[in-house]
Symmetry: C2
Subunit: 226 residues, 2 copies
């Protein structure tokens, strides 16, 4: 269970303050699929960064399975994230000196899997996202959509309890995007994984039972099929 | 007028060859608005990189206003590009140590405009794309869609004859995307600028009179309203 209490984030830049999150109170149950829509600059990525512990909020709490992650020490937060979360960044953040399969197996090596096992699981996930023939390519030898699919495979390969996805199909054509969303829905149903998906694409919201709307740092429930 | 003759591009990676462009013959008239659709990895970005001279083709010619740009020396190609072209990259390529307005005024300074003029024109273009309040932000202090709009402003600010746009609205919500496409259409009608737009979004193709389809390195005409 994910719960936020009065979550705020303010950026200060040359004396100007931007209130990116203005007090978010949100609850997400285990195994839920939730999408977040909202205009450019409305605070969606900021929210995901605070929910996942990648960034620290200015005020408020983020409680995941009764642990307030905003109070964890850096090391404990990193371990908690590695064990429980996958993150698909808006612009992928692949490691340029590692090839596709090495990028995907890295989170498994961090969790202590042996090389052979990690390589097998990484290859399997890259095949699932349609990249069987690109495993040895480095990020600068991949198309935009291929790089995004490597980032998706990396986030899913450890079968994390929670996956934060920031526009996971933004660089994909409709057909490839649908195949990714079908994979996500399958993992949600099979492993009861929670998915929180930021998107601009109304077709993506059809895969989630709840739709939240972000507007200038304020989050409202838009639709809840329960 | 843009014309290609048997344009080919082959990438070699660890002995494996990828034929990204398999012989493209294309003609685009001055002032045309053309969109290019196609699945992830089909060769769209590779085509734009070769058309604009950012990358060299393996074979074939790219002729723009009777000049074969594939035979130009590097300095002449850079000057030709600075004078005649704007490029909206798929992942923006903003200069991290320059803020938004500095990124946008740079192509003007390269063309010899004085600081005061360049600053004025850059500010005007940033206002056009809805970033009046983000001019002093550095790229790492912008949201994904804001960064994309800075990249759009930079490509348009010199009013180039030809603009190559690689998924110009990929990181934008529907409303912001429409306002950008309206700006592009206005510039096309007012200044007779040519736009070649790669996109995954079928709504974007409604702004162009020609739609091309890329599939595994082969380009076909999909629709031509002439
Ligand atoms: N530097 C490179 N080395 C090897 N292969 C490459 C390189 N750059 C691109 N490729 C391959 O060439 C093919 C075409 O890539 P391109 O970037 O043109 O695709 P695209 O149509 O723009 O795709 P997307 O919609 O995902 O951005 C891809 O399959 C990609 O793996
Ligand atoms: N490091 C920063 N410093 C200053 N302002 C920032 C910083 N990061 C983000 N912002 C501002 O906070 C606001 C929210 O940004 P955020 O990245 O969360 O938007 P978003 O909803 O993800 O937008 P997009 O759909 O364009 O990706 C933006 O207006 C942005 O300018
Ligand atoms: Mg964002
Ligand atoms: Mg591309």
């Amino acid at each position: 269970m994910i719960k936020t209490i009065n979550l705020k984030k303010t950026y200060k830049n040359e004396g100007v303050e931007v209130h990116a999150l203005k007090g978010i109170n949100l609850e997400i149950k285990d195994g839920e699929m939730v999408s977040i829509l909202g205009p450019s600059g409305s605070g969606k990525s900021t929210l995901l960064n605070c929910l996942s512990g990648i960034d620290k909020p200015t005020e408020g709490k983020v409680i995941i399975d009764n642990i307030d992650i905003t109070t964890l020490k850096d090391d404990d937060l990193t371990t908690f994230r590695a064990k429980n979360m996958g993150f698909i960044f808006q612009f992928f953040n692949l490691i340029p000196v590692l090839n596709a399969v090495e990028n995907v197996e890295l989170p498994l090596l961090v969790l202590g899997y042996n090389e052979k096992e990690a390589r097998g699981m990484a290859e399997e996930m890259l095949i699932e996202v349609g990249l069987k023939d690109r495993m040895k390519n480095f990020p600068n030898m991949l198309s935009g959509g291929e790089a995004q699919r490597v980032a998706i495979a990396r986030a899913l390969v450890t079968k994390p309890k929670i996956v934060w996805a920031d526009e996971p199909t933004g660089a994909l054509d409709t057909k490839t995007g649908i195949s990714i969303m079908n994979l996500i829905r399958e993992l949600n149903e099979k492993n009861n994984q929670t998915f929180v998906i930021v998107t601009h694409d109304p077709r993506i919201t059809e895969y989630t039972r709840r739709i939240l709307k972000m507007d200038s740092g304020i989050l409202t429930e838009h639709e809840n099929l329960g």
